[in-house]
C-alpha cells in the first residue's frame, strides 16, 4: 500500500533512527502488557517451590524467583502495573493541566499570573515527598501514590503547554481568527492546541518515563504496588535474591525500567521537535566531503 509506505517514510523522517528504535521498543512492551495472558508462558503468581531460583531453562526461559514463579511471566505481567500507574498519572495531570494552561495563555494578565504562580508552587514540591506524605496519611497502595504524583506532575506538563500556547496566542493567525468572530474555546482547542500537540505529546512521553521511575521507586520502598502483584519496581526490591547472588531476578526488571524510560525520553524529545544530539546524527556525506575538500585547498594555499 502506497499510503502506508508514505506514512512510514514520514514517521521515519520525523523521528529519526533513535526515535524509531524507541518507538519499536515501546510498542513491544505495550503489546506484551496488553496481551500478557496470551504471551506469558506461565501464570505469574503460580509458585512451585521445586523451581525456586531455577536458572534459565526450557521450562523457565529466564528462570524462576525465590518461590518458583516464572520470571519472564512476572516481567510481562509486571509491564501492566508498571505502565498503568504512569498512564494514569500523565492522563490526570494533562486533564487538569491543559485547560489551566490554555486559559492562562489566552487571557494573560492576572489570570496568567495566578495560574503561573500556582504551577511554580506545586513545581517546588518534590513529587516523591508528596507521595510519601500521602501514603503516610492514607496507607500504602497504588491509588494514593498515583493521586499524589498526578498533582505533582501537573506543572511539569502544564508549564510547557502554557509557554507553547502563549507563543501561538500572540501569532497573527489567532488575531485573524478572533476577527472572524470565532470564540476562545474554538480557537484554543481547534487551532492552538492542535498546533502545539507535538510539544504536548512529547512532554507527556517524557513525563511518562519519569512517572514510571517515581512509581517504581515508591514500589521499591513498598509504598505503592504491594508485594504479590507483579511489578518491575517491586521486583527490583527483591533483596533476598540479590543477597543470594541471583542477580538476574533484580537486573531484568531494572533493565526494563531503564530502557523504557530512555525510550520514552528519546521519543518525547523527537516528537517535540528536538534534534538528536550531534553524535547520533549522520552528517550529510556531501558536507563531510566538502570540509575535507576545503582543508586541502587551505593547506595548498
Amino acid at each position: 500500500m502506497n499510503s502506508v509506505k508514505s506514512t512510514w517514510k514520514r514517521l521515519n523522517k520525523a523521528l529519526g533512527r533513535s526515535g524509531m528504535l524507541s518507538l519499536a521498543f515501546l510498542v513491544v512492551v505495550l503489546l506484551a502488557a496488553v496481551l500478557a495472558p496470551l504471551v506469558a508462558p506461565a501464570d505469574p503468581n503460580q509458585s512451585s517451590l521445586l523451581d525456586a531460583y531455577a536458572g534459565p531453562s526450557g521450562a523457565h526461559l529466564l528462570g524462576a524467583d525465590g518461590i518458583g514463579r516464572d520470571l519472564l511471566s512476572r516481567l510481562i505481567f509486571g509491564a501492566r502495573t508498571s505502565l498503568l500507574g504512569p498512564a494514569l498519572i500523565v492522563g490526570v495531570s494533562l486533564l487538569i493541566g491543559i485547560p489551566l494552561a490554555l486559559l492562562a495563555s489566552w487571557y494573560g494578565g492576572w489570570v496568567d499570573g495566578v495560574v503561573a504562580r500556582v504551577f511554580d508552587l506545586v513545581y517546588a514540591l518534590p513529587g516523591l515527598l508528596l507521595a510519601v506524605l500521602t501514603v503516610a496519611l492514607f496507607g500504602p497502595g497504588l491509588t494514593p501514590a498515583v493521586v499524589a504524583l498526578s498533582i505533582a506532575y501537573i506543572p511539569f506538563l502544564a508549564r510547557i503547554v502554557r509557554a507553547a500556547a502563549r507563543q501561538q496566542r500572540v501569532s497573527p493567525y489567532v488575531d485573524a481568527l478572533a476577527v472572524q468572530g470565532f470564540g476562545m474555546l474554538r480557537i484554543t482547542v481547534r487551532h492552538i492546541l492542535r498546533n502545539i500537540a507535538p510539544v504536548v505529546v512529547g512532554q507527556a512521553a517524557i513525563a511518562f518515563g519519569y512517572a514510571l521511575l517515581d512509581l517504581a521507586s515508591l514500589s521499591y520502598l513498598g509504598l505503592a504496588v504491594q508485594a504479590p502483584t507483579p511489578d518491575w519496581g517491586v521486583m527490583v526490591s527483591d533483596s533476598d535474591a540479590m543477597l543470594k547472588g541471583y542477580w538476574l531476578q533484580v537486573l531484568a526488571p531494572g533493565v526494563l525500567i531503564v530502557l523504557t524510560v530512555l525510550a520514552l525520553t528519546v521519543l518525547g524529545a523527537r516528537i517535540s521537535g528536538e534534534k538528536p544530539p550531534g553524535y547520533l546524527r549522520r552528517r550529510p556525506a556531501k558536507a563531510v566531503a566538502a570540509e575535507k575538500n576545503r582543508t586541502t585547498v587551505g593547506a595548498a594555499a
Partner: protein, 259 residues
C-alpha cells in the same frame, strides 16, 4: 442593499483616542472611508497606524471616540457570538507577515471552509474564492509552509473575503513581499475592489503603494493626523512640512542621497 446603505460611509471614525498609560498612541483621529472607497493611512513607526487598525477590528479597545462600520457602532467590545459574527461580516483584516498570519496546520481550502461554515455561507464558494485570489488547485490544498510569501498572502486575502466583508483592512499587507510579487498582489487587490465594491483601509509606510491602491490618504504622525485628502492633492502638493519630508525621502530616479 438599500439606497441609504449604499451612500453611507463604510467606516466613520470620530475623536478616536488610545492611551497606553502615559503614552498617547492615537490622539483625536477622525476619518471616513466611503462605501467602496479606499483610504490609505500613512505613517512611520510609532505613528499609531497599527493601533488604529487593531481598534477597528476589535483587537484593541479605544480609550475614547467612536468607530462605526456600515453605520453600526463598534466602539465597545462585542457581546456574544452573534454580535462577533456580525462584526466579522462587516470588516476583515489582512496582516503584514504572511508567515505567521495563517494557521500552520490548515490548508487554504480548510481555512476558507472554516470561515464560510462559521458565517453560514455556502461551501461551494470556496472554489470561487480560491480562483478569485489566483491560487492553483495544488496551492489551495497545500500547508502554508509549502507556499511562498505571496501565495500565503493570497490565502489570507481569500480567508478574509470568505466572510464577505464590506471593508477590508490591509495592515502593511504587501510590505513583506518581493517587489515582483507585491505588484501581483496590488493588481489582485485592485481587481477585487473593482469586482466586489469592497472598501479598503490600507495601513502602510509606503507612499507609492498607497498612491497605487487608494483614493484618499491620511498622514499620521505620533498618533495625530497631519493632513488628509485626495491622494493626488496630498502627495503632489503637500500642505504640511512632514508630508513633504516623507515624500522627498522616497528614493526615486534622480533622487540624491544628501538632503
Amino acid at each position: 442593499m438599500n439606497a441609504v446603505d449604499a451612500q453611507a460611509n463604510a467606516v466613520e471614525v470620530r475623536g478616536l483616542n488610545k492611551f497606553f498609560k502615559a503614552h498617547h498612541a492615537v490622539v483625536d483621529v477622525d476619518f471616513d472611508v466611503p462605501a467602496g472607497g479606499s483610504l490609505g493611512i500613512v505613517g512611520e513607526s510609532g505613528s499609531g497606524k497599527t493601533t488604529i487598525a487593531r481598534m477597528l477590528v476589535g483587537l484593541e479597545r479605544p480609550t475614547s471616540g467612536t468607530i462605526a462600520v456600515t453605520g453600526r457602532d463598534r466602539s465597545r467590545p462585542a457581546r456574544g457570538a452573534r454580535e462577533r459574527g456580525r462584526r466579522a461580516r462587516e470588516l476583515q483584516i489582512v496582516f503584514q507577515d504572511p508567515y505567521t498570519s495563517l494557521d500552520p496546520s490548515q490548508s487554504a481550502r480548510a481555512a476558507i471552509e472554516e470561515v464560510l461554515r462559521h458565517h453560514g455561507r455556502d461551501l461551494s464558494l470556496t472554489q470561487e474564492l480560491v480562483d478569485q485570489v489566483g491560487l492553483t488547485e495544488r496551492q489551495a490544498s497545500a500547508r502554508p509552509r509549502d507556499l511562498s510569501g505571496g501565495q500565503r498572502q493570497r490565502v489570507a486575502i481569500a480567508r478574509a473575503l470568505a466572510a464577505s466583508p464590506k471593508v477590508l483592512v490591509l495592515d502593511e499587507a504587501v510590505s513583506a513581499l518581493d517587489v515582483s510579487i507585491q505588484a501581483q498582489v496590488l493588481n489582485l487587490l485592485a481587481d477585487i475592489r473593482a469586482e466586489t465594491g469592497i472598501a479598503y483601509l490600507l495601513i502602510s509606510h509606503d507612499l507609492a503603494v498607497v498612491r497605487q491602491l487608494c483614493d484618499t490618504v491620511l498622514v499620521l504622525r505620533r498618533g495625530r493626523v497631519v493632513e488628509q485628502g485626495q491622494c493626488e492633492r496630498v502627495l503632489d502638493a503637500p500642505a504640511e512640512d512632514y508630508t513633504r519630508a516623507l515624500r522627498e525621502a522616497v528614493p526615486v530616479p534622480g533622487w540624491s542621497v544628501n538632503a
